[in-house]
């Protein structure tokens, strides 16, 4: 088994198992990338991107970079995508894209540009790398992938590594400065002031009525019924999509008197 893998490595070709993994995971990665670009909802875009990033993590492991594969899954899909989802929930939850084109024909031109770019890169790569053989990393990874990377990182690349720490500290301070909201003392209201506002004419002091839970429906999209029989629109969440009931849903269930 190992001998055949090594022989395949020496010939610059990859084993059949890796070829299978490439075609399956590669197709998944492209589908995830396309889904990210095409999904209308930003949360769906983030989830599609997670699929692509997981596939790339597996590719790193296959390409003799197990350390980078683990970092990809922990840092990208674990930390960065969670940060994206947090900000999406804060900011862009209902911010689906506008369909209005500010520049006429921009989308078509963008797709044509992309196709041209892909063609150029692919033909360039094909011509440049035709006939080259892959050396393989079995020799470089001999002391273990993590140990070999650490050896390089703390000798030849130690200056870049130190500068990286300055970059990370700057980023952390910058994020704190940008996300912090300064509130003056005059903006703060004490309890007496808040109570006055609550009972002032025009505001509603009692808690909002919950959405309706009746014998024939348990949907939170059903507005609560007020004592005078009218429906309270403020009892339903604005995020819930408004929709009409279909005929079978609106039909009597046989539970009414």
């Amino acid at each position: 088994m190992t001998a055949t893998v090594l022989a395949a490595e020496a010939a610059g070709r990859v084993s059949a198992g890796e070829a299978w993994a490439f075609w399956i995971l590669g197709a998944l990665a492209v589908v995830g990338a396309l889904g990210m670009v095409l999904a209308r909802n930003a949360v769906h875009s983030a989830l599609w991107l997670v699929v692509t990033m997981l596939c790339l993590g597996f590719f790193y492991v296959i390409n003799a970079a197990p350390f980078l594969g683990a970092v990809q899954i922990i840092v990208y899909t674990g930390a960065i995508m969670m940060l994206f989802l947090f900000v999406l929930m804060l900011v862009g939850r209902d911010a689906s894209d506008s369909l209005i084109e500010t520049l006429r024909g921009q989308r078509v031109v963008a797709v044509l540009l992309g196709l041209g770019f892909a063609g150029l890169v692919a033909t360039g790569l094909g011509r440049a790398l035709d006939g080259t053989t892959a050396v393989g990393l079995t020799e470089a990874n001999a002391p273990g992938n993590v140990q070999a990377i650490a050896g390089l990182l703390f000798s030849r690349y130690v200056l870049a590594f130190e500068i990286t720490s300055a970059l990370l500290i700057t980023a952390a301070v910058g994020a704190m400065v940008l996300a912090h909201v300064e509130r003056g003392k005059e903006d703060r209201s004490d309890q007496v002031e808040r109570m006055r506002q609550r009972f002032a004419p025009g505001s509603y002091p009692a808690p909002k009525a919950g959405p309706g839970v009746y014998a024939n429906t348990m949907s939170v999209a059903v507005p609560a019924r007020l004592p005078d029989g009218s429906q309270s629109e403020r009892s339903i969440s604005k995020i819930l999509p408004q929709r009409e009931l279909t005929a079978p849903e609106a039909a009597p269930k046989g539970t009414e008197k």
Binding site: L34, M36, A42, Q72, V75, V87, L113, A134, I149, A171
Partner: protein
């Protein structure tokens, strides 16, 4: 197949990310497209590392990941402060730096 196929896949992913940046309007989705392009570049570095038989490509990919993490933190903080001022995350709406 040879390891060169990974480079072609990375080119495809990079192109999809670039087209996404040109086509989409939501600032957060634009950011995700940039992340996709960075990931495609990382795949290229890892594949080249295997082709040349040295680990320098993997080190470069590691640094790209660090820079991407810092970039995401700052970028998302900027998007949030723009959203606070404009109540919108669309890049078409922020056509003025002031107000």
């Amino acid at each position: 197949m040879t390891p060169d196929y990974y480079l072609v896949l990375a080119a495809i992913l990079f192109t999809i990310g670039a087209v996404g940046v040109l086509v989409r309007r939501n600032a957060i989705v634009l950011f995700m497209c940039i992340e996709l392009m960075l990931n495609a570049a990382n795949l290229t570095l890892v594949a080249f590392s295997r082709i040349t038989g040295t680990l320098d490509g993997q080190i470069m990919a590691f640094f790209v990941m660090v820079v991407a993490a810092a970039e995401v933190v700052i970028g998302l903080a900027i998007i949030m402060s723009i959203f606070r001022a404009r109540r919108s995350a669309s890049v078409d709406d922020s056509n003025l730096l002031k107000y």
